[in-house]
Amino acid sequence: MIIRQGLFIGTCVFVAVLCELTLLSRLGIPGATPDLVVVTVVAIAFAMGPLQGATAGFAAGVLLDLSPSSDTLLGVNAIIYLVIGFVAGFWIDPRDRTLPIMIGITALSTGAAALGTAIVDTALGGDRVNWVEVPWITLSSALYGVLLSALIIPLIARISRPFLPEISFS
């Protein structure tokens, strides 16, 4: 079960990273790049639980940091996505899993990911972040999060059904 879950998470994360780097970031859309990776991580957290969300976040962050065309410090995205995946899975109320609420949480997550990257990068002494642009990037990232999550969350929920954990966290 654990192996099958791991394979499922790994495949989802891999496809998301690939799509984000080769397709979404090249569309020339104004503002931030639509953050498919964070949306996927949050969708996994909703469908499978906080631990799976955190693992997916960690894997996605490491993959994104290691893949070419990214020049970030290894581990920065990993820790941000890990926290996001865990928090999203932990705070979603099992009795209130309506799509609008899940979309709202995803939008907050994508915004938080953009803001978090800026904060961590600045805190670690990088001078790349242009703080004038940060509000706009955060806002547009949240907006694209809404659009993507309406599609991705039902999709992940559908295809993850055979891989759901038998023991839920308590």
């Binding site: 080769t22 970031s25 020339g28 906080p50 290691l66 410090l73 890990l82 670690l124 790349r128």
Partner: protein
């Protein structure tokens, strides 16, 4: 609240990512260079395939803007078309002149830079605040770190990391990028640094009294043995100058010639020119002196000239 197993796995993951950050902060060829190389050789290959599949979508570069403002564009284009039609006749003359200038420029530049062409296959997300792209050429194509990357419009960036079949390129607009620049006309030198915005660079003159005006072109100053930047490549055009002459920090805003957000085919300068082509696009001063010196001509050359002139007139 959480099960013991969950807590253990979570803390392992947190400790692992913090360790990664701390180890990678040391910079240089850290312990992760081999991991990066392995991952990028796998992902790079897949990215190449994915880029081909997605090329109908990404290839239409103005996809977004056309979606947004199609009707406005049609109106603008109609007006522009009328204006262009009337301007066409007078433009014929200019085109002929421009062709000659093109010829001159080509003579000056082609053959001096040896360029390996490559295509951009992936772009780093905006949220990373790093302006980096992946190209589909690597060490197998003869690329090395710190090589200059150009496209048809001008300087694009430099090679940051090289893997087997892909490389990462840091663009000139990246906030950590700085290029030695020279104003094409006045030869003033300075430093062109990225701002993180795709259409503006900062050009800081070394000489506070230096002459720089709106519309001046800025070219690369060149580095030792052409790494990381080959000399004489066009960077951009000065669009704004802040601060008056003599002020300590005179900063000009430069608009890069290359549109870095819509890159497709780029060239990597594998071999820089043997000498700096600094003045080759300007009228050559050596020609002027050569034609000036023969004025006190000896009689022999005069005779040759007079002997040579009747021949064409006779024909």
């Amino acid at each position: 609240m959480l099960s013991r197993r969950t807590r253990i796995i979570l803390s392992i993951l947190v400790v692992a990512s913090l360790t990664f950050v701390i180890l990678d902060l040391r910079g240089g060829d850290g312990p992760f260079s081999s991991a990066r190389a392995a991952v990028s050789s796998i992902i790079g290959g897949i990215q190449r395939g994915a880029a081909t599949i997605f090329s109908p979508i990404t290839g239409s570069s103005e996809w977004w803007s056309t979606q947004v403002s199609q009707s406005g564009q049609i109106r603008e284009l109609t007006i522009e078309n009328e204006r262009l039609n009337s301007a066409l006749v007078s433009a014929q003359n200019d085109i002929a002149r421009a062709d000659q200038l093109d010829e001159l420029l080509r003579v000056a530049s082609v053959g001096r830079y040896r360029v390996t062409p490559a295509e951009v296959i992936a772009v780093g997300p905006v949220q990373d605040f790093a302006w980096t792209v992946t190209i589909d050429a690597g060490s197998l194509d003869g690329l090395e770190e710190d090589m200059t990357v150009i496209n048809g419009d001008g300087l694009v960036g430099r090679v940051l990391k090289v893997y087997n079949s892909t490389s990462t390129v840091v663009l000139i607009v990246d906030p950590e990028s700085s290029v030695g620049g020279r104003v094409a006309g006045s030869q003033e030198i300075g430093i062109v640094s990225g701002t993180g915005r795709q259409n503006s660079l900062e050009f800081q003159l070394l000489d506070p009294l230096g002459e720089v005006n709106q519309g001046d072109a800025v070219v690369t100053f060149g580095s030792k043995s052409g790494r990381p930047y080959a000399p004489g490549l066009p960077i951009g055009e000065v669009v704004d100058v802040t601060g008056t002459a003599g002020q300590l920090a005179r900063i000009a805003t430069v608009k890069p010639f290359a549109n870095v957000s819509q890159l497709s085919v780029v060239g990597v300068v594998v071999k820089p020119p043997r000498e700096d082509p600094r003045d080759s696009v300007l009228p050559n001063p050596s020609v002027a002196t050569a034609s000036a010196t023969p004025t006190p001509t000896p009689s022999s050359s005069n005779e040759k000239e007079t002997a040579a002139t009747p021949a064409p007139s006779g024909n």
